[in-house]
Amino acid sequence: SQQGEEDPQALSIQEGENATMNCSYKTSINNLQWYRQNSGRGLVHLILIRSNEREKHSGRLRVTLDTSKKSSSLLITASRAADTASYFCATAPQAGANNLFFGTGTRLTVIP
């Protein structure tokens, strides 16, 4: 399966702390993306990192990619209660169509 796996499955932190989520995948990729999903809603794209990039920032988000280890991490700094959601990584394969393969997600709870 090309699906990624996030770790941990669930994470609970206090507001103001940093949250780190990890994603591992199995095949070569063109890029890796992180999405956020509030309960019962659609997914929202957060950030895309290409296979030739190692780190990317967007506001309070920092994403790293290690293609040799086939892994990525998403760091949310100075977390807020509004960051409570599920976070998914998705990989775009190196060849083929625009399909994305999603991981199983990390459920983040930020306690105010």
Binding site: N30, N31, H45, F102
Partner: protein, 111 residues
């Protein structure tokens, strides 16, 4: 700006009944369209994707089918629903930029 719509938002159907979920996209042309299913507390499973009118690719064998009668319309169907078809169905689109834009989803409960 582009928007994506899905309806209905929720649906409760008996086993053996037919299904039709609709997804439409506005503000873009010739999008790639996707149907995903998400079981409770789980990740997304790609069901179908389409790169153009009448072009449907299926990722997993199942009780469902998809059609794309118009450029920005994607329909998910079943002739006879199974209990295992229950889930959260998400439609998404993109324009070869890899980032996908998701609709609000349809919660389907089969009883």
């Amino acid at each position: 700006s582009q928007t994506i719509h899905q309806w209905p938002a929720t649906l409760v159907q008996p086993v053996g009944s037919p299904l039709s979920l609709e997804c439409t996209v506005e503000g873009t042309s010739n999008p790639n369209l996707y149907w995903y299913r998400q079981a409770a507390g789980r990740g997304l499973q790609l069901l179908f994707y389409s790169v153009g009118i009448g072009q449907i690719s299926s990722e997993v064998p199942q009780n469902l089918s998809a059609s794309r009668p118009q450029d920005r319309q994607f329909i998910l169907s079943s002739k006879k629903l199974l209990l295992s078809d229950s889930g959260f169905y998400l439609c998404a689109w993109n324009n070869d930029g890899h980032e996908q834009f998701f609709g609000p989803g349809t919660r389907l409960t089969v009883l």
